[in-house]
Amino acid sequence: MKAAPGTDWRPVPAPAIVRRHDPVRDADLLILPERVVVLTGRAETVLALCDGTRSVRGIVDELAERFPGAPVATDVPPFLERLRTEGWLR
């Protein structure tokens, strides 16, 4: 099967971004110079793999192994692409 476009980049959070857990709200956050983003669902699990060493394809494979039956191959690449468009991932 041919790789979907854009699955060979290696996502890493933009330097401006801090990823942290918020113990007060028990929430996972992305903190940017001018805003705070609350991560919902499995977003934090996906972002934890965005360390600049794994390609999108690698991230998908790893998640597929961890969450058998979940639609990671269809959901994760567009999610990462969206975060790249926002400027939160590079």
Partner: protein, 375 residues
């Protein structure tokens, strides 16, 4: 798996949702004397400022209470010699720090000390793309230092935002201002139409632009948005609420998302709220932050929608704009509980319209802040 903007979660108890952000006004002292300054007319003298130790405790309390982000602002926060100490305290409390600065006084050593203390990003003001015009608006020679500061922040690898307060004297330079941001390599350009509070309200007649100026600037920003690539800087246009007929969702609601601590420790739901004469705001020297947020009269007074009168009370937009700005309602009508006159549904909207369309505006003289007294 969608990231969402923070929304006030529905709390199981009656306690209000916790604040996300703190505006820390560390000092009112400032090397610049911009006519649009939103600091209050009565500036806090330096001897009345909170000490570094007190700010450290503010940061500790804020972090424990749920604040995750702070703007270190002023005046000019670099005038605080203990700024790095305050950054360290915020970082230790898990609070992301952004320095909001004129750039005056930011040298390489100062910046590296701040970065080592945990400073995360810098927002730099500029008054105009033309150095002489920028210096004129700022009331002192400062453009060259700003340019140098931008270079230092870039070299340090910190995120850099450019903030331009827009008014009659610089709206026609919008293209040049955006080009300046590109030249300086900034990540974000905030084009903020003047909000009329404090000195800005005093100088409103001289600052208000024409509708034509605004329309041209808005079009220019749209053209730039189409031209800039996704890797280019974010362009943020802060709307001119005097002209749009729509009230701004001020502060994301009263006592809903953020709080301000002023140089002398006064805690406010928004930086302009000191202008409300009967608010009697609490001070962090007297009360814990959690009590101030949850229970003080100043924070509960306009929280939610129960305080609203018509037309807000029954308006479908009341949970989106929160009735607009209380301080603006007070400034223009003398009654902070009225609908923000910026809203076209407000019975007082005529006040805003006549100001926005006044053909004599632009003739006023800018009255400038005098230096804050040391004693």
């Amino acid at each position: 798996m969608t990231p969402a903007d923070p929304t006030p979660p529905t709390a199981p108890s009656s306690a209000p949702a916790r604040p996300w952000a703190l505006l820390a006004e560390l000092t009112h002292a400032c090397p610049l004397h911009c006519g649009y300054c939103s600091n209050p007319l009565e500036l806090t003298r330096r001897s009345r400022e909170l000490t570094g130790e007190q700010w450290t405790d503010v940061m500790r309390q804020a972090g424990e209470f749920g604040v995750v982000h702070t703007h270190l602002s002023g005046g000019e926060p670099l005038l605080r010699r203990d700024l790095a100490e305050i950054v360290t305290a915020a970082e230790a409390a898990g609070i992301y720090t952004q320095l909001v600065t004129s750039g005056v006084g930011l040298d390489r050593d100062r910046l590296s000390t701040l970065a080592a203390a945990g400073l995360r990003s810098v927002q730099l003001s500029v008054q105009h793309a033309d150095p002489r015009a920028s210096d004129r608006i700022a009331g002192r020679r400062s453009f060259a230092e700003k340019e140098r500061a931008a270079g230092l922040v870039r070299a340090a690898g910190l995120p850099l935002g450019l903030n331009v307060v827009l008014h009659r004297e610089n709206l026609d330079a919008i293209d040049a201002l955006i080009e300046l941001g590109l030249t300086w390599g900034v990540d974000r350009i905030e084009l903020a139409n003047t909000q009329f509070y404090g000195w800005g309200l005093l100088n409103r007649a001289a600052l208000l632009p024409t509708r034509d100026q605004l329309a041209r600037a808005r079009d220019a920003v749209e053209r730039w948005r189409e031209r800039l690539t996704p890797d280019g800087p974010d362009l943020v246009w802060v709307v001119p609420d005097y002209f749009d007929g729509v009230a701004k969702p001020c502060m994301g609601g009263w006592g809903a998302v953020s709080l301000t601590v002023t140089p002398d420790g006064t805690v406010l739901p928004c930086p302009a709220a000191a202008s409300l004469p009967d608010l009697d705001p609490p001070n962090i020297r007297d009360h814990p932050l959690a009590w101030i947020w949850d229970h003080s009269e100043a924070f509960t007074r306009y929280r939610g929608t129960d305080w609203m009168a018509d037309p807000c009370r029954t308006c479908s937009r009341r949970d989106e704009d929160f009735g607009g700005c209380r301080c603006q309602a007070y400034a223009l009508t003398g009654d902070a509980t009225r609908t923000d006159p910026a809203c076209r549904l407000s019975p007082d909207h005529g006040l805003i319209r006549s100001l926005a369309d006044d053909s004599t505006k632009g003739r006023g003289v800018i009255r400038r802040r005098v230096p804050v007294r040391g004693g």
